[in-house]
């Protein structure tokens, strides 16, 4: 469409944001320099998905990647250094709307989130919003604590007010 862009250097990298929207929700956003149909394709073709889902910097290689992207279809991603003892993530797609919306479950445990990804195209770019809804506050806290390797009990009760308070007394 825009032929002039061919010779231009690669566009600036877009910013990734993550926000805990509520007790049960995490939201990740990022804009991609391409139309929604292309970004959607990269999320729904397993041979493309596996090229970006496990970047080298995470240090954990992807062993296998299966994704049957249609309503009711299943996915399974296996990670690890030892193929005989992989760490598996799996679930099924519960909504697949081409180029605009994907919803899947995370069935590794009862505390798994439901993940919704939306693709919104504007002026040839795509705003991607990944929304994870956990079944309970404890499930999301657990996910955080699990990766953190333990969390003080008090964490359970921290609130926005404390943030404000901490910020104001911290400054004085």
């Amino acid at each position: 469409m825009d032929e002039r862009r061919d010779s231009e250097p690669a566009p600036m990298k877009n910013r990734t944001t993550v926000e805990r929207k509520s007790e049960r929700e995490l939201v990740v956003t990022r804009t991609f320099n391409g139309p929604a149909r292309i970004v959607f394709e990269a999320w729904t073709k397993p041979e493309l998905l596996k090229r970006w889902w496990a970047p080298k910097s995470t240090g954990v290689p992807l062993i296998s990647c299966e994704a049957d992207v249609r309503v009711g279809g299943r996915y399974r991603l296996e990670f690890g250094h030892d193929a005989s003892k992989p760490m598996a993530f799996f679930g099924r797609y519960i909504e697949v709307t081409p180029h605009s919306r994907l919803v899947w479950t995370n069935d590794e445990s009862d505390d798994g989130a439901v993940t919704t990804v939306t693709f919104e195209e504007k002026g040839g770019k795509t705003l991607l919003v990944l929304h994870e809804l956990y079944p309970s506050k404890e499930a999301l806290d657990g996910a955080i604590a699990g990766m953190e390797g333990g969390m003080p009990e008090q964490f359970e009760q921290l609130d926005e007010l404390l943030v404000t308070l901490g910020a104001s007394v911290g400054r004085s």
Binding site: N33, W52, F155, E160, L165
Partner: protein, 120 residues
């Protein structure tokens, strides 16, 4: 930023409804202190201060740690810092994935352009 439910806010506001407890938080914002220190500073009994600190602790505003015979109180910010650190690491994971995804998107765009030319 972090948002929590009304119930949780209510617990915090209840804890903060008392001038002494607000003073204790301000004090702990400057430096950690033992319950004895706090009782002296606010001119109340040790038992009275224990109760106040208990309420703040229940609301998650303060954490305490007993070393020997001294119970030290500090602002309950640690959990928040850990959450912020986790969120940043989670962001970095997605950021790394999306950098790779950028490459896939660029490649697909180029391919589409070439295919488009072929059709013409």
């Amino acid at each position: 930023m972090v948002q929590y439910t009304r119930a949780r806010l209510d617990a915090s506001f209840a804890a903060l409804s008392d001038a002494t407890r607000r003073g204790v938080l301000e004090q702990l914002g400057r430096a950690d202190a033992s319950i004895t220190d706090l009782a002296e500073k606010f001119h109340i009994t040790l038992t009275g201060m224990k109760k106040h600190v208990g309420v703040l602790e229940q609301a998650g505003l303060v954490t305490t740690e007993k070393v020997g015979r001294v119970r030290t109180c500090k602002l309950g910010l640690r959990g928040l810092e850990e959450e912020a650190a986790w969120i940043e690491r989670y962001r970095q994971l997605w950021d790394a994935r999306f950098d790779e995804l950028d490459k896939v998107v660029e490649e697909l765009k180029r391919k589409e352009k070439v295919d488009g030319r072929k059709k013409r």
